[in-house]
């Protein structure tokens, strides 16, 4: 299988590459649009700041290109947030695949620490990404902004409030958590994505 990881200034590209390699898949890390177009699966990782990253994507033409992809695409963390309409992080318009805004966590009590960092459970899972899940599983999150529950929500997590742990619309899949860092559960999610 031909898997491509979009190469840009994101922090977790190599973690995703390593995770795929552990599944026996050699992914191509590239920003070459022809190579990305020909891939069977495309992964859009992301660790960083939304406005700067959108700026980079616009300048390189990747913004329009990513929207035009037809094969299954998996956005991870900031990658998921950038697939939404708008982010409060840097007040920036994003790619608009998922018609929802990205909001900043507002702590209600002292225990509500931001970023939301660590292992938390995902519930209400309804997507091929979670095929074979029989109980609430823990996955690894690191984020300060969240996507509210919306029409495209396919998994939920509770921290301060209920938010979207995963989204799915057409050929676009996305997780707020890091499957590449979520142990054997994360490996199952990546495997499920690769077999879509």
């Amino acid at each position: 299988m031909n898997v491509a990881i979009i190469k840009y200034n994101a922090g977790n590209i190599y973690s995703v590459e390593y995770a795929l390699r552990r599944l026996g898949v050699e992914a191509k890390i590239t920003k070459n649009m022809e190579e990305l177009r020909q891939a069977d699966k495309v992964i859009f990782p992301g660790v960083g700041e939304a406005a700067n990253t959108m700026n980079y994507l616009k300048n390189s033409g990747l913004d329009k290109f990513i929207k035009s992809l037809k094969q299954p695409v998996l956005g991870i963390c900031l990658g998921m947030q950038l697939l939404c309409s708008h982010s409060e992080e840097g007040d920036v318009d994003c790619l608009g695949i998922f018609k929802t805004d990205v909001k900043k966590f507002m702590p209600i009590q002292h225990e509500d620490k931001v970023p939301h960092m660590g292992w938390n459970t995902i519930t209400c899972t309804k997507s091929p990404l979670f095929k074979g899940f029989t109980k609430e599983e823990f996955v690894y999150f690191v984020h300060s902004y969240y996507v509210p529950i919306c029409a495209d929500t396919v998994a939920e997590t509770d921290y301060i409030l209920s938010f979207s742990a995963a989204l799915h619309k057409d050929n676009f899949y996305a997780t707020q958590f890091h499957p590449e860092k979520s142990g054997s559960v994360g490996e199952r999610i990546l495997k499920n994505f690769l077999s879509i």
């Binding site: 922090g11 190599y14 973690s15 390593y18 995770a19 390699r21 552990r22 660790v47 960083g48 700041e49 702590p107 002292h110 620490k113 931001v114 970023p115 939301h116 960092m117 660590g118 292992w119 938390n120 459970t121 823990f138 690894y140 690191v142 984020h143 300060s144 509770d158 921290y159 890091h178 590449e180 860092k181 979520s182 142990g183 054997s184 994360g186 490996e187």
Partner: protein, 251 residues
Amino acid sequence: MLAKRIIPCLDIKDGQTVKGTNFINLRQAGDPVELGRMYSEQGADELVFLDITASYEGRKTFTDLVRRVAANINIPFTVGGGINELSDVGRLLEAGADKVSINSSAIRNPQLINEVASHFGSQVCVVAIDARRTDVGWKCYLNGGRIETNKYLFDWAKECNDRGAGEILFTSMNHDGVKTGYANEALVTLTELLTIPVIASGGAGKPEHFRDVFLTGKADAALAASVFHFGEIKIPELKQYLCSYNINIRL
């Protein structure tokens, strides 16, 4: 609900795991990648690798080790030791680390915390604090506990929080290696003072100590080394035990 984390810590010297008691008398405890993988399979929530080698060659060996850890382990890990400037952080993140822990260099140059946070994000920036309870309060130490500073634990931790640190890793030098429990009194003060997670370190000897550090110390994560390395406490059993006290743990 967000789970409390169990974090084995591996001290690395010349590419090998070592662990001392009260910061001296180093003992060997195995290959870091193998140990790390074993902990990950047993249910460790994160790993910390601390480079205690000071030499240039040692540093290069450590970066190679970070790359091997990233390739082989599927849970988050933090690396620390010998990080003096922004480029050290970049090098370790590029090698595949998820977070970096800065200690002495943050005390010498507090601005480094702001720089790491603004360049790579707060979530990357763990500030480790080694402190000892003295007659005049909890004093912070440099260089693995060898040099006393004029900083006090609570003031310094708050300053780190305000400068953009993502987590505080607090080691009580009074408790480290003596296996009589964590510094819960200081921990509860810290967790109430700060708006970022606190990792407790120093003092784990029995499963009860982990229970107490979460229930009494209110820590977000508990770090330990030798009790895991020498098999005195097994992570799966420890996690079952903590669950039986209704502590939210990832099983």
